[in-house]
Symmetry: C2
Subunit: 359 residues, 2 copies
């Protein structure tokens, strides 16, 4: 187990050694640690290695000039200048909130960025300003549109955070696929099959082999198959891709660059880097803040009180499990898998740093 | 087969007889006919009877004062004053576009409305102004949140329309459930079972009986079961409900009033009527319009070119099937089912009008 502070300081120093400013390094560490705390370690420390290798390959910019290149009172396009995703994304969300504070809502589409970690982090930035936050990103292609076998889209997540009053906030953060890619990796390592509806083979046939992506298969969109509404999942994923990349001038769909250095740079690009989309809406742009919060409290308590299904404990309000996990790990410490500890120790060595091995 | 003009004129006169202004009646007829043309007759002429009965029961207001009750430069809350949904919704979308034309984007949450027909109609209003349109509505509860057996939400659709250049626009319009309620009705009439993943029984068990809603069952959210991501469908449906009702002060979740007069008015209300949410974003708030359109064309042609799955013809770009249907029906005429013709003839009689029976 590691304390939050230990892992934060390590991550921070690691990115400073890479050449990031103190401000940027702290921000990157905060987003990585948010993933660990919220129970999404697939977007946490495991990715330090990816970023290190992208840096060694000169595929990310640790001294970026993140800037607005187009704007109206309620919108902006931000060029991330090849930044580490967290740096471009945090600045973009700040701009969305600045615009929101002026005209009620702010909307920013970002290009020239990279993998930004967990979508929910940026949506949640809005909460302390009494704003609703929204965050989306496109990602490297592994998901096929309905009726196709070509991986054209990433798992393209959507996050929405909505403040409440006495209740804890509503925080939805979900991929537009039935499962995250990580679940396939876990099933494969365990030698297990996965349920039908997650992946298809190279011809588009139903498939339960978690390793199928390595032989021309692809992930399916939310809904799974056409009969169960996969075309709706495709609509969602497409909307995320268009808002993130067409709006901003980033690479869309199959042209989104890989977020790891062991995959080659793509031959063709149709824009700059990876794309994100952010929104910030003042709650008092719709209702006096206290009225909004009281109504949101009522919404949450109403849904919490829905009758549970047989064998289920209760309805889960989006954000509850992650918050509970975060509260627990802040107290008890953060577990890091032995394989990741090994990676971090090696990375530390490369950087002339230390990483302590703890039980 | 009926001509568009015949059905439009009939519907228009019908709502004028009900006391609607000429302007409102034309608008209502246009939305009803858009549903027929686009192949969504469940939201078309079949609902004239519902509106007639709501009017007889004094549950809708045909002379509403639809007005802005709260606003910022980029947002408004509109009170529909009990209007027929199409009247409140069209005006709300116009306000979103007016705000969008001033500050880049406009966002309107609407209360005190009723069933507004097809979500896509309002999103598509934005297209001719070179804007991206967004439309959502909540609806009377028949869908249970994941892990619950209580119908707490409607099929809560989301529509997004995005202009292109030489390509036809992208128009997604989908319920946040695997299927529309109408599909259950059809299966029941045919005496068929439905696939698992659409509905559950009163205890939350998997179920394939399309009539189960009448014995305490409920529809499931997009994803179907938890393993396949139904909690993501719940997130979507919840976001729609909150944007439409918490933002505006409409009834949320289980308190959304029924859209038919044969169901009683609910005992408890937590706001005014049904809620909607609309957005309008100028494409040139993100990119010069020609650049945006060229990139959107490239997005569409890239996705069209994805390799089809075995036995499938091609990837379907959202909006294509509805547009093809509309083009065909405008030429060939609109079919109306005998049962609906019978209804319309009876309704015409009530109003001192004629409705011709055609083959």
């Amino acid at each position: 187990m590691y304390t939050y502070e230990y892992l934060f300081d390590f991550t921070c120093s690691f990115f400073e050694k890479m050449g990031c400013s103190d401000h940027d390094a702290r921000l990157i560490a905060e987003v990585f640690l948010a993933a660990e705390l919220r129970g999404i370690p697939s977007h946490g420390l495991i990715r330090l290695k990816d970023y290190y290798q992208l840096w060694k390959a000169d595929r990310i910019n640790v001294k970026p000039n993140v800037r607005v290149v187009h704007e109206t009172p309620s919108t902006a396009v931000v060029d991330g200048d090849g930044a580490i995703g967290m740096v471009a994304a945090s600045r973009s969300m700040e701009i969305a909130m600045e615009k929101g504070s002026m005209v009620g809502t702010g909307w920013v589409s970002t290009r020239g960025s990279n993998h930004y970690g967990i979508a929910g982090y940026y949506a949640m930035m809005a909460l302390k300003h009494d704003m609703i936050g929204l965050s989306m990103t496109n990602a490297n292609p592994q998901v096929a549109p309905t009726f196709s076998v070509t991986p054209m889209m990433g798992t393209n997540p959507i996050a929405v955070a909505i403040p409440a009053g006495s209740q804890t906030p509503f925080v939805a953060d979900f991929a537009t696929t039935p499962i995250a890619r990580g679940k396939l990796v876990v099933a494969e390592k365990k030698g297990e099959k996965v349920p039908f509806g997650f992946v298809q083979d190279k011809d588009g046939n139903p498939c339960n082999d978690p390793a199928i992506l390595r032989s021309g298969g692809s992930m399916l969109t939310l809904g799974g198959d056409y009969e169960h509404g996969s075309h709706k999942g495709f609509c969602l994923s497409a909307i995320v891709d268009i808002f993130c990349a067409v709006f901003s001038g980033a690479n869309f769909g199959p042209f989104v660059p890989p977020s790891v250095a062991y995959l080659p740079v793509l031959d063709r690009k149709v824009g700059e880097g990876t794309g994100h989309f952010f929104g910030a809406m003042r709650i008092d742009a719709f209702q006096p803040a206290e009225v909004f919060k009281a109504k949101m409290d009522e919404w949450i308590s109403t849904f919490r009180a829905a009758k549970p299904a047989a064998g289920r404990e209760k309805v889960i309000i989006p954000g509850d499990p992650e918050r509970e996990k975060e509260n627990r790990l802040r107290k008890e410490g953060i577990p890091v898998l032995p394989a990741i500890v090994k990676d971090l120790k090696e990375l530390a060595g490369e950087m002339g740093m230390e990483f302590e091995v703890k039980e």
